[in-house]
Structure formats: C-alpha cells, structure tokens
C-alpha cells in the first residue's frame, strides 16, 4: 500500500505533488460501529490503509464492581450487562464458574432449562447480529423482520423471569423461577414458526446478489490467523475452524443433543470472508432451534430450587470456566479468598478478542468494506469494554 505514496507524481508543469494519507475518525458516534467504538482510520481516499480501534468508551468497571458486591449472587445483574444482547449466555458462564468453585451439582431440570434459555438467547443474539449486519450493508427491511422474531423470544423470556433484556435468571445453583405453565408449548410453537423465516432471510438478504458482492471475499480471515489472534465463536468457525466449546469442552447437558457445529465453507468466495461469518450465524440459528426442540422434548420434571445455596461462601481457590456464548469463548476466572465476596473476577470476553483482528483484515479494503467487516465480527461494546 505504501508504495503509492513513495512514487512521486508530477503535474504537467513539473511540480511534484504532495500526497498524504487522511486520518478519519469512525466513531464513537457513528451509525455502524455498533455502540461506542472508535476506529481511527488511515485512509487513502476510499482505501483503508490502517485501522486502529480505540475502546473504553463503555467501560463500567465490571471487574472492580464485582469485588465490591455483597455476594456472588449480586454479581449476576452486572454480568447481564456485559453483553446485553446475550445476557442469558453471560449468566450461564458466570454461574457455572461459581458452581464449580462451590462444587455444586445442579438438578437435571435446571440444566435443561439453562440450555433452552441459552440457545434461545443465542438465536436472539444472532438475529440482532444478522439484522444489523444487513443494516450496515444498507438493507433496512431484514433488520426489522429479524427484530420481529426476536420479540417473540423475548416474550418467552419475559414470561419466564419477568424481564426482557437483562434477566438475572440463572442463579448460582439453579434458576430464579421454574418454567411457567404453558412455556413448553409456546416455545415449541415458536420453533415451528421460526424455521420458515430463515428462508425469508436467505431470499431477502443472504443470497441477494448485491449482498453477496458486498461481503464475499471481503475481510478474509484465514483459519490460522484467526487461531493466532485467539478468535472464537462464529468468527472462528466462519474461518473454517471446526471448534465449538459446546462440543469440545462440553458443559451442562450439551452432549445429550444431536448437533454439530456450523463452519464456513467459502461458498461465495474465500473461506473466512464476511459472508461466511454471516452465514454461520444464520445456520447456527437453525442449529440452536433444533437443540431447543430436543431439549423441550427431553426435559425432566423436578424442582429447580433445591440446589440454591442459602449463603455462598466458597473455599479459597480459583476456577476458570469457559462457555460458548453467542459471540465466542466466554471465560470467567473467579478467585475466592474464602469470604462471601469474590476476591477477583476476570472475564475473558469474546468480542474484545475478535475485535483485535480488525486492523489485520481490513487493510487494503475500502471504507465500505471496513463497515462490512466490523459488522461481521458482531461486537458488543458492553462486552468489549466491560
């Protein structure tokens, strides 16, 4: 890229032209940075020469807050707020970590409920990701169709725990409420309703030629680079790496269901381009719905509150638990010093790591490609900054 600037161009009168790169700020207030991300873009006209992401505009001291709560349970609402698009997945990771620290075994029904919720949440989160991705590319309508379906999922959540966005549903040792009566039927209805909608999205957006042209062969992230950067989730799988924590480091009851991870195959261009990352999300929605259906059919009866401890006071020690959130490997490293408060909680947030590949894959593209790439990584700034 730089050689453009080294070769000198002369005007007809023989005067050398001075040329320079332009630095522009994309964000923190920019429609397509999905929150308050600031991308410092070094551009040569429309061509992107370098991108420097600046983060921290949404830093809320999650980790420090967690140390100052009255207890482990009080951290859950804060965990919700890390990735507000996939709060259930966040809760899931955190409570699993604390349970491991305490050595609690939760009832089978709780495991099933958690898996159902986490997978529905994954669908909801991918709906946002795919919808806003369409918006980034300029298609407004699929976005609203996807939000329509997401509302139905949120209705299910609201019916279960009373909240639509930040649930505080999964508790250490259990869940706050059992499934309400009628939930299973409603959820099954939703699964039936949702499956044909995927075709609509595909017709309207995924296989639209303009959309393909905008995303295929753009922002190609080869598998080895993705691994080197520590990417995870759909970003890693979009690059053709077959890695899913639900299968490779199984937790909860995922091993009981019949499913396999979706990986990008490079159907429209190179493996690991934006289209692959996008389509992996679309296909994961079908996969999640299948898991939910299986779980709804197998869910055992039981009490959900039996394992909830009266007071949470783990022995001194530390654990690291990783789960597959909607955006990738979500890890919680919890250190306990034997008191009722966590001594330290460190969250390994997938978006933060996924965001780090932006400079690598957007160099040499165009400004419009940069938008497409940032959208395809599906970052949530609440989780990047914590």
């Amino acid at each position: 890229m730089t050689d453009i600037f080294e070769t000198s161009i002369k005007t007809s009168t023989g005067k050398a032209l001075r040329r320079e790169e332009m630095v522009i700020n994309m964000g923190p207030q920019h429609p397509s940075t999905h929150g308050v991300l600031r991308l410092e873009v070094v551009a040569d006209g429309e061509i992107v020469i370098d991108v420097i992401p600046h983060i921290g505009y949404l830093h809320r001291c999650f980790e420090k807050h967690a140390e100052n709560m009255t207890g482990y349970q009080q951290v859950v609402p804060y965990v919700d707020r890390m990735d507000y698009c996939a709060a259930m997945n966040m809760d899931f990771g955190y409570v699993l970590a604390v349970e491991k620290l305490l050595g609690i075994q939760v009832p089978e029904r709780v495991e099933y409920i958690r898996v159902i919720m986490a997978e529905l949440q994954r669908v909801a989160s991918h709906l946002i990701a795919a919808g806003t991705y369409g918006l980034d590319i300029g298609a407004f309508t699929p976005f609203l169709y996807m939000f329509r379906e997401r509302e139905r999922i949120l209705d299910l959540f609201e019916m279960t725990c009373g909240a639509r966005l930040l649930y505080n549903y999964m508790w250490v040792g259990g869940v706050s409420h059992d499934l309400p009566p009628g939930f299973i039927d409603k959820a099954k209805d939703f699964c039936q309703y949702f499956k044909p909608k995927i075709k609509e999205y595909n017709d309207l957006l995924s296989y639209n030629e303009i959309f393909i042209k905008r995303t295929a062969n753009v922002g190609v992230l080869p598998g080895d680079v993705a691994i080197a950067y520590g990417c995870s989730g759909p970003v890693l799988r979009g690059s053709g790496v077959d890695f899913d924590l639900r299968r490779d480091d199984p937790y909860s009851v995922y091993h009981k269901f019949d499913w396999k991870p979706e990986i990008g195959k490079g159907e429209m261009g190179a493996v690991g381009d934006c289209w692959d990352r996008y389509i992996v999300r679309i296909r994961e929605m079908i996969q999640s719905i299948n898991i939910v259906e299986q779980a709804l059919n197998q869910i055992p009866e039981g009490d959900v509150a039996t394992a909830i401890p009266k007071r949470i006071r783990p022995n001194a020690g530390d654990v690291y638990v990783r789960t597959e959130s909607a955006r990738g490997e979500l890890g919680f490293y919890v250190i306990s010093d034997g008191t009722a408060k966590p001594f330290r909680i460190k969250a390994r947030s997938p978006s933060f790591v996924n965001l780090s590949v932006i400079p690598e894959i957007s160099r040499g593209g165009m400004i419009a490609d940069l938008v497409a790439i940032a959208g395809s990584l599906d970052i949530v700034l609440g989780e990047v900054d914590r």
Binding site: Q74, V75, P77, E158, G162, S176, N208, E209, I210, K341
Partner: protein
Amino acid sequence: MRKYFIDIYKSVWSVLIGMKITFGHLFVPAVTIQYPDVKPKLPERARNRLYVNMDDCIGCLQCEMACPVNCIEIATVKSLPTDDLGTTSTGQKKKLWVTKFDIDIAKCCFCGLCVYPCPTECIKMTEVYEFSEYDRNNFLYNFVTLTKEEIENVKAKAAEYEKEQAAKKAAAAAQAKPATAPTQQPPPTAQQS
C-alpha cells in the same frame, strides 16, 4: 464472459425475489401495536416498579443487603418493650420502627434480587412501568408511613430508653465491680454474611 452474464442474471433475479418478498409484506398485518392506546399484557412475573407494603415490613434489612446497586436505604429504631407494633400478615411480630425506607428507583436495575429474601414478602414488583418524572428527585421513593414527629418521638424514646438501660448497666457494673474486673467488651465485628 459467461460469468458476466450469469452475474447480471443472478442480480436481476435476486432483486426480483427480494421485491416479491417485500411486496408480500405490504399486505401482512403489522406486528407492532399503538402503545399508549393498546397496551401489551404483562406476564405475571413481570418486573417493574417496586412497592413496599410497610405494614408487613419488619425492618430486617435483607432487601438492602441483597441489592446490588445499593438503592435501598433503610434505617430502623428499636422499639420499647412496652410498644406494640403489631404483627405482619405472616404472623411475625414487628420489633423495629422503620424510620427510613427509601428506594432510589432511578438507580434500581429491576433485577428483583431484593424481592426473594424478604421474609414477609412485603417488597414486591408491581405492574406499573410508566413512571417517568420531570424531576430526578421524584425518583426517590419514600415508603415510610410514620410522620416526621412520630419518627422524632420514636427516636427520642429509644435514646432515652437506651440511656436508662446504660445507666442500669452502669449501676449493675458498679455493684459487680469488686467481684470481677471490668472487661472491655470489643464491639461486635460486622460479619459479612
């Protein structure tokens, strides 16, 4: 060359498919509702504005402890043994005057954590979700039922009682002095629990 024409064909075709879908949706009834006119039915478990039934509150501070954002502030004063504060609906005897019960609803994150530990189920979520205010100070909800004078009164009484008790204790201690050496009682350490 072949790819060129295939691309054109595909573009035109996918545009037509897209147009067909959006056109079809023109005649699908809208899924949105006209909010203030039509209100969605909230499920039973909906978590919205908090309400405290002060008749039942025993001032146990469980809810204050459970709140992750410290938006509940409670102050209590011990009642005299002669006072009768009545019992809660669950039959528990009330022993404390609750002189302050403020919830800063602007800080509240509606997590519901305060609701579960309450022994008398007197703090609960209601169905009210439209409570915007023009002044931020109005978000500080006071639930205390006692009037200012009553609070002063209770406080004074409690202080008097305390003094009396202290005097009695001192007298008792003075009597017992020859027998046992006065041991400095360490203040009870606030155990985190």
